[in-house]
């Protein structure tokens, strides 16, 4: 029997937070958008983290499969990354003139990412997806952008839908929404809006919420690539979430094509705040022409961290490692579920897996199981894909499967 967590201090902190912060905790890490079902099963505030673990303010330890929603790729507080960051911090971080670490980092990305001829840095994924769209519009002198339904490209108004608070029709009037993997729909859109489509923006595969994640069908990317090339349309890959967890050379490389622009953030610097837009040479001058900058975008510490992170990911063959660990976990969870007669679906790639108990289409059974896991110290979510990090040990995986087993037994007893 595993210990059931108590979250008294988290709840007390939430009461404090709510008084001075909208919603208490806003966004994807909050209880509403984070789908804490039921809310009592989840911790609200962390105290510290190391490797594959984080500890909440009540002292509960979690094996963390959300990895801060992606940034933790090598393990929290990775010694090599932290040492590089500390060394740079001792010299300076946010300074009037940028540090040459910026050049080092850009050179490393150009050498690492197959489709990259240059790199531009910002802070969040949204910064670079927005810049990618601006670049495409500036280059093509066109307005329309193709999206695939289920996408997430950030929080700027152009990425949201017309029914989102604060978004007006003009923000989204040039958005074309198509079904993922529907190449006929892509062709039809290009016929219908001939000469008007500035860009196709897409994640490398559909890792959306609330449903099984979906890989591209055969030749999908090759066909999209050809259509974009034939129509002088910019192909943007939003690799913010999947980047470096499929392929160190970029997820477009993993799927056998080359993007014109590719956006990175989460796994780029193991939690240090930096994002990057990389692209083809023919778009470099266009990027130069944009008015786009930020107070902290050229800070040197995240560049130093990013260099150390990428070098270490290469050194340890990180993507292969993540796939191996992800597969071990996946197989263990599916086998454990089947012991109790449950059909656990694990979709997406092993390093970025999505879980769903398929026996109940309402997801309520799945939410119960996830809650029982979290209460026992395995941090899963019921709506979002998960993330593997390189520090995840065999012992961590074994403990996860043991907790999952107990959680399955709890829900089985509850419903039998």
């Amino acid at each position: 029997m595993f210990k059931i967590n108590d979250y008294t201090k988290s709840r007390e902190a939430f009461l404090r937070a709510e008084k001075v912060i909208p919603s208490g905790i806003y966004g994807h890490q909050g209880p509403a958008e984070g789908c804490f079902v039921p809310v009592e099963a989840f911790p609200f505030f962390s105290d510290r983290a190391k490797g594959s673990y984080f500890w909440d303010i009540d002292g509960n330890r979690f094996i963390d499969y959300m990895c801060a929603y992606g940034p933790n790729v090598l393990g929290y507080n990775d010694p090599d990354v932290d040492a590089a960051a500390a060394a740079q911090r001792a010299k300076g971080d946010c300074i009037t003139a940028p540090n040459t670490k910026m050049i080092d980092f850009a050179e490393l990305l150009v050498d690492t990412v197959k489709s990259a001829d240059w790199a531009f840095f910002a802070k969040n994924g949204n910064d670079v997806t927005t810049m990618a769209v601006m670049t495409a519009r500036a280059y093509t002198k066109r307005k329309k952008i193709i999206f695939f339904k289920g996408y997430y490209h950030g929080v700027s108004p152009w990425t949201q839908k017309i029914d989102y608070a604060g978004v007006i029709e003009e923000d989204v009037v040039n958005n074309i929404y198509l079904d993922w993997n529907d190449i006929d729909a892509v062709e039809e859109a290009f016929r219908k809006y001939k000469g008007q489509i500035a860009a196709v923006i897409a994640q490398p595969y559909m890792h959306n919420n609330f449903m099984d994640n979906s890989l591209p069908i055969k030749d999908f990317w090759a066909k999209v690539r050809k259509i974009c090339t034939d129509n002088d349309t910019v192909l943007i890959i939003d690799d913010v979430r999947a980047g470096f967890r499929l392929d160190i050379a970029g997820s477009d490389h993993y799927f056998g094509f080359e993007a014109d622009l590719i956006c990175f953030c989460k796994a780029l610097a193991n939690g240090y705040n930096v994002s990057a837009l990389c692209g083809k040479y023919f778009l470099k001058n266009t990027v130069s022409s944009l008015s786009y900058t930020g107070s902290y975008w050229l800070s040197a510490v995240p560049f130093a961290a990013g260099i150390a992170c990428i070098e270490k990911m290469k050194r340890i063959n990180c993507t292969q490692l993540l796939f191996e660990k992800g597969n071990a976990l996946k197989n263990g969870l599916i086998e454990t579920a089947s012991k109790y007669g449950y059909d656990l679906h694990v979709s997406g790639v092993p390093s970025l897996f999505y879980l769903r108990i398929a026996d109940d289409p309402t997801l309520m059974l799945h939410q119960e199981w996830i809650a029982e896991c979290v209460k026992r110290g395995i941090y899963f979510t019921n709506h979002h894909n998960h993330f593997i990090n390189a520090s995840l040990s065999d012992a961590n995986i074994a403990e996860t499967i043991a907790v999952a087993d107990e959680a399955f037994s709890v829900i089985k007893n509850r419903h039998s």
Partner: protein, 251 residues
Amino acid sequence: MTDAKTLSYINLYAILGAMTQLCELDPKAKEILGNKRITMEITVKKGPTARLAFENGSCKILRGAGKCNIRLPFSSPEKFNGMIDGTVTPIPSKGLTKIGFLLKTFVPLTDLLTKYLRPSDEDLKDEEFFRVSTLLTFYVVSEALSQIANNDSVGMSSASYIVDGKIKMSIGDIVGACIVAKDHVLNTVHEMPEDFTSYMIFKDIKLANDLFAGRVNSVASVGHGNIRIGGMISQVDNMNRILDRVSMYLA
């Protein structure tokens, strides 16, 4: 940001539709109605048509045209909305002899309904008034939700992302509605569903009233466990975007 046609559907099915509950919840409504047996049809050109059937102190709403004693035709959604606002006086095309019902029964009933739906702070201090006001508002909100989903262009966009199923919306075990989604069209059934694919449950009457009045934050309420959501949360998520528009229309 809002349109007259959608508002006319809300005014007919949600606001006047709440008469059905008013007659059950407040004895004064029964008293006003007495034993009158009248069916009143409201027809809005390029808008909704429905009948309010009053009988033995109760009220039913029947969708579409049909047998009636009084018919109130409106040449546009704007004219009908004007009647609800009190700026347009309706002229019956049928039932001129029943004009007394309109003046002596229907108007007092709508006045009573307005008292509950636009309550004063003083009235809300009365516990029973607070309860009835909240339950009537719940009815209006849950019905307006479907009307917006099916008529308002932005609401239809939200509904286009709602997969088929049943969403339970309730105030604890006190009152509930089932929002049935089928092919991205929503229909509110004003009963607590036994089976549902997702749910949004308000803890109690007070929380529901605070939410409707904008006194508490819904996202923080999820954090406190005062609003419970679950099941196919994408349904609830998209429904909440329509609920944002309910407050715009009812403002």
